[in-house]
Symmetry: D2
């Protein structure tokens, strides 16, 4: 039986992945923000002491509220540097991924097309994208695949919190709807279920044809 750890797996896309891995008969440890606050490095280190290895790791986390560049203070930068970047690096430095395992990172479409109101998220999630890209080459030697999923607008609490009229947003999207967390849940499930390993070191836009960049 495979072991999976899903960070921020209590709601939204994280929960959908958690559920889908459970349906594969994995033993899933899924953390809520209360159980593991990735902006708190001590908290992260404690967690990795208790959970020192896994077969499947899903690095997921919420983002900060929208803020203009001029309004971001040092505390914001430091907190989300931890939450969106350094907490994940710490987990990867301290947790063993078993041979033949998987690391899924859930970032955001803003890594490719940064968003003015989500500047913190755009920057730090992109920084972590660079890290996971590099590490994918080392992990490859142990047959561990690293897959970065960059979701566009999804039907999650997060999207609602960011505000805006959901109906209006949906009308503006190519598919006239938000993505459903289950779609990413099933995507992750399928990769694991079919033991697809050669998909690694990749960032996958998962945005219903929304982005405009050619590649």
């Amino acid at each position: 039986m495979k072991k999976a750890i899903v960070i921020a797996g209590s709601r939204g896309i994280g929960k959908a992945i958690s559920d889908s891995l459970e349906s594969l008969d994995c033993k899933v440890i899924s953390t809520s923000q209360k159980e593991l606050d990735t902006s708190n490095l001590e908290n992260v280190k404690e967690f990795t002491k208790k959970n020192s290895e896994t077969d499947i790791l899903v690095l997921n986390t919420g983002g900060p509220p929208g803020k203009k560049f001029s309004e971001i203070n040092e505390e914001d930068w430091q907190k989300y540097h931890n939450q969106l970047f350094l907490g994940f690096c710490t987990i990867l430095q301290k947790m063993k991924i078993n041979d033949g395992g998987y690391i899924f990172v859930i970032t955001s479409g803003v890594i490719k097309e940064p968003d003015e109101s989500l500047i913190i998220s755009s920057a730090y999630r992109l920084a972590f994208t660079s890290v996971i890209k590099l590490l994918s080459k080392t992990y490859a030697e142990k047959n561990i695949s690293c897959i970065n999923i960059a979701p566009g607008p999804f039907n999650t609490d997060r999207t609602k919190e960011l505000g805006g009229n959901i109906e209006e947003i949906e009308k503006s999207l190519p598919m006239k709807r938000l993505g459903e967390p289950k779609e990413i849940g099933n995507f992750v499930k399928a990769i694991v279920e079919y033991n697809i390993k050669y998909l690694s070191g990749v960032t996958i836009n998962f945005d219903g044809a929304l982005s405009n960049y050619v590649l």
Copy 2:
């Protein structure tokens, strides 16, 4: 029962996709190069007359032999312009994809990191990537997903034909092996099986952590 058309589905990655779709109980029409030569536009038009609609379309084709830029003649350019670009455009102009369907394009890692000896393939496959990216937005309105898969080095006849010592190549790869066509076959199968639709307008590097570009 869904209908699938797989161009160049008689061997390699095309065959693996064809087989995997058949295992999903799709009715698969799979063409060999003899049955449909996409470098011959008349041939393409005839084919689309007989096969005027489908649920799933897989646009796959072999590439040209390696050639230096200085050695490529006008005939080469014209032939592979048809085979790698215009033949596919013609199919998309003339074939109806049914609502809720899929278009999978199999290109190559050389679209992102072009290869000197595969200059024709690098250029025209990239041109088609631009076309499918644009069309993904139109197809989205009909709930049709467009997914461009860009394979790295795979265990196919094509790879052997391109020459080089396969063992040496494998040693140089992050995963110490070529990709297996079945991995892409299963990937395509999973997308269809789980009805994942929000993955669209995307180019997916499928290269075992080989590429160096961050995104």
Copy 3:
């Protein structure tokens, strides 16, 4: 005295480059579309017979009128394949660039963010971007620099021909104005004047902060 050849140098950005190179005391051969129609390969070959070498080559050309994908016919594809791609490849195959020279390619912002109404241009200009990227490595051995400039909306006849209310367009742009051809003219001039050679194998968005892609 350096020799420069500027294709489509009779108006717009091409003319601005032509003028700026003349101000550097280069001997500039600047062609209008009448003098050299790059969609006509015979015409191109004749031209390269008469102009078999140069120090500076500027590959510039107009684009096709806007057309929907469904409306593009085979003649369109073939004509603009020649004009936007194969004509330029032919020139590079037949014309000698002298050691220490420059190749400037003027493409378009649509190579990175393709435009639905400019699908032909988006695709073929991107294909040529792949070619020049590859060739930059070979030319580097002779100290020849290859620079691909991808302009956004500029104040040219072309922009006016594509239609739309220019004032409205300007209001929507980050700088509230179109680019001035002279800005690219001066850019090219400066590279040559200061003999900057290490800038090569690069695509430079020249779009007044319009594009949204991070890199």
Copy 4:
């Protein structure tokens, strides 16, 4: 007379830019690491109190020594987060760039093609690339241009410090030589001298045709 501030302008590429701006008759304030340590945020804030506005700002800084991912400790992350990212954000939050001005950022080729031994630099410089891309749109309203230059291997102390046999490195490069800081110095000078403003929101690979990514 224009005012320019060049961070880390006492040697290497920073010095070349500083010198070239002086030759344009700018009043240049060029800081050494002793004078302004961008890893020290208090230091940065003091600096911006004394230097609260400028016409031209050059954001340049050295990078960390090479280190494997597993060897990077929390102190390293925090220090270089400040030096490569947060210090620059702080400067931009606190320093006024005068209308019609310029911001040049000197990053590195590792933002596009990350380097295993320069993982910190790859990640944080890329994060800052996202920030400057976003800000370029706001600055555009004041006719301020933001230009990110991503150098490949240059003939600087930094390159020597990173080790390796310089002669061997040179042989492996497309141009068989390192870039000369003066080339970037002249490039920056030319942009300012010719008042080129429409080049903004762009990352410019400046690497002698070294990188392999198509765009």
